[in-house]
Symmetry: C2
Subunit: 340 residues, 2 copies
DNA sequence: TCGCATCGCTAATCCGATTTAGCAAAGGGA
DNA sequence: TCCCTTTGCTAAATCGGATTAGCGATGCGA
């Protein structure tokens, strides 16, 4: 039904010139190599009429570049989180006329190797290695141009990393309470009081705690949770309420906050009249909860964009090896914090 | 640092044979074309030692096939929904040794054209056209082998479609209540009572209503909502409670159910003791809510898998044109329905 | 011993572009 | 008029494989 693609040879014939000339015109090197304006127009017109588009595979073989990058994640593509990360990467890629391969490794090293090979075999120009949760990862050998997204290389690899600025986010969360006049009665749900009290391997836990500590806000107490799920937030807050009467809660993420809301409600306490709540992530539920949850957002979209930008910068010129790019986490002021 | 890739020529030289012979052995046509067992082993061993992997771009140019398919969605890749759809497609693709390009059109026809071109220029073997919500879409001309995912072609196009079986889902939801002994006092939140009372263009609304009607379950009343957001569920349920005392609610999706939960709670009604709630989608919040929400799941993962399977079947032999594949929507029995 | 089939492998071509090297014609200076 | 540039374009090589056509050596029957 649809007939054969128009090739450079077809175009050359239609314009009455050689393939070389047609190619020179189409790649914009006509001026440089002294193709007359007349011939140039002839080729351009023919290309337009025939709807000529260069075969990217052929170009790839000849030039070694495919205008394609690979997005390899552990399992991020499936979670809501990843959605925006991929979206950011996708848009930044589109602006540069580049396509995106995606793949998930499920944390399986064999799958990862297979995926990377499949991408390298297709001559991707670069690779984005993404992680679901901010964490350290081991970078495979001979990966070529690459950046780490939401991850840091375990043995230093010289590859650039893009991560959310969690320490500053911790400060931001604390500052929200400070600005609202909270000086005491502030409790942590999910981690703390010591930096190591929280989910293992969680960069977010440690850095958020660090930021909160930096802020100078006095923390009255804390309940650690191993997995940051809603039930844990519920249990931790319930346990907390059994002993104390908090004026404000910093939940280490929104799922914990969801549980905390339930516990507060069960205890007949009002948010934010009795207890202010601040959280992290800006998960979709944050704006569905009532009152809407004030939270410090994970900038997934921006992280994805930035990954592509840094990857291109790296492919272009020499850049400082191993640079860590921290993306700001914006505060979403909503309804769960009240001045006192 | 990392040296040049191993090419077929390198392999041939290392094994002391011609490129032709090396190629024949590596593509498994050695037997067929009478390459001796001895030489075959020599080539295989050399390939192993050198770590030879054929350059997929070159193979693509020569054979015209790229072992790559394109996944084009309106904006599905960003939503939680899409996550699983992509994941299903990804796994089915990996099982077949195929890579996935992804792209989002944002509903912009120009972007869509550009994306499709970019993919065709890279010689994708087929394309999956996916939609965020089940709906009808206009299929571009000359798209080549393709399938519609979560969508139906507006002017019939002959392309196969993969959609969730919403009518059966409607029956399932009603059956859950019937099985629990509910015969009256059942209200709808989000759409109905007439088939056209619901969000415009929503295939889900119409078909779910149809299924509910098919079930024989008597519906006492309904409140339509235009956008199926939590606030609308809250408002609709509140309005309903002002006039009636429902025994059970069928919410047309989980976000509406979230709002309904809040309204019921505000009214001092208990789920499921006073009111049973059934819903659709199996959004992540469904299992976070308390009590956990019984809902009929959108089988995103299976939809994604099926799309790849159907695409391959279509690329293979002749298949019945325009076939519609309906994927079952499983009931997730949880805690929000109580027998009476 | 000749002719023909079979065996085992390879030379050459092709896919669709980019790129290098160079050729024929026109122009300019001596 | 001759030689040398410059102009404007093209032939041919290349990328890395798959594939077609065919070549030399051996075996076998007559």
């Amino acid at each position: 039904m649809s007939r054969r693609r128009v090739t450079l040879a077809d175009l050359a014939q239609a314009a009455g010139v050689s393939r070389t000339t047609a190619s020179l015109v189409m790649t914009g090197r006509g001026r440089e190599l002294r193709i007359s304006h007349d011939v140039e127009q002839r080729v351009l017109r023919a290309a337009d009429e025939l709807g000529y588009r260069p075969n990217a595979v052929s170009v790839g073989l000849r030039t070694g570049t495919s205008r394609t990058i690979g997005f390899v994640s552990d399992t991020v593509a499936t979670s809501r989180l990843a959605g925006d990360m991929i979206k950011g990467a996708l848009e930044a890629a589109r602006e540069r006329g580049v396509m995106l391969f995606i793949g998930e490794t499920e944390g399986d090293p064999d799958l990862e190797r297979g995926l990377l090979h499949a991408m390298q075999d297709r001559q991707v120009d670069g690779i984005i290695l993404a992680a679901m949760f901010t964490r350290t990862i081991k970078v495979p050998k001979d990966i070529g141009p690459a950046v780490l997204l939401n991850a840091l290389p375990k043995p230093a690899s010289g590859l650039p990393s893009i991560v959310p600025d969690e320490v500053e986010a911790g400060r931001s969360a604390a500052r929200v309470l400070l600005d609202a006049g909270h000086r005491d009665g502030v409790y942590l749900i999910g981690a703390g009081p010591r930096l190591r009290d929280g989910p293992v391997d969680s960069v977010a836990a440690v850095e958020r705690l660090q930021g909160i500590r930096d802020s100078g806000l006095k923390i009255a107490g804390a309940r650690a949770c191993p997995d940051w799920q809603p039930e844990e937030g519920l249990a931790a807050t319930r346990a907390l309420l059994a002993e104390h009467r908090p004026k404000a809660l910093i939940c280490l993420n929104d799922r914990l906050a969801l549980g905390a809301y339930q516990a507060l409600q069960d205890a007949g306490l009002s948010v934010p009249d009795d207890v202010s709540v601040v959280s992290f992530d800006d998960h979709p539920i944050a704006s569905w909860l009532r009152p809407k949850l004030t939270t410090v957002a994970l900038p997934y979209y921006e992280l994805g964009r930035k990954a592509v930008e840094v990857l291109f910068a790296q492919m272009g010129e020499e850049s400082e090896p191993g640079q860590v790019h921290r993306v700001a986490m914006p505060v979403r002021l909503r309804e769960s914090v009240k001045p006192r």
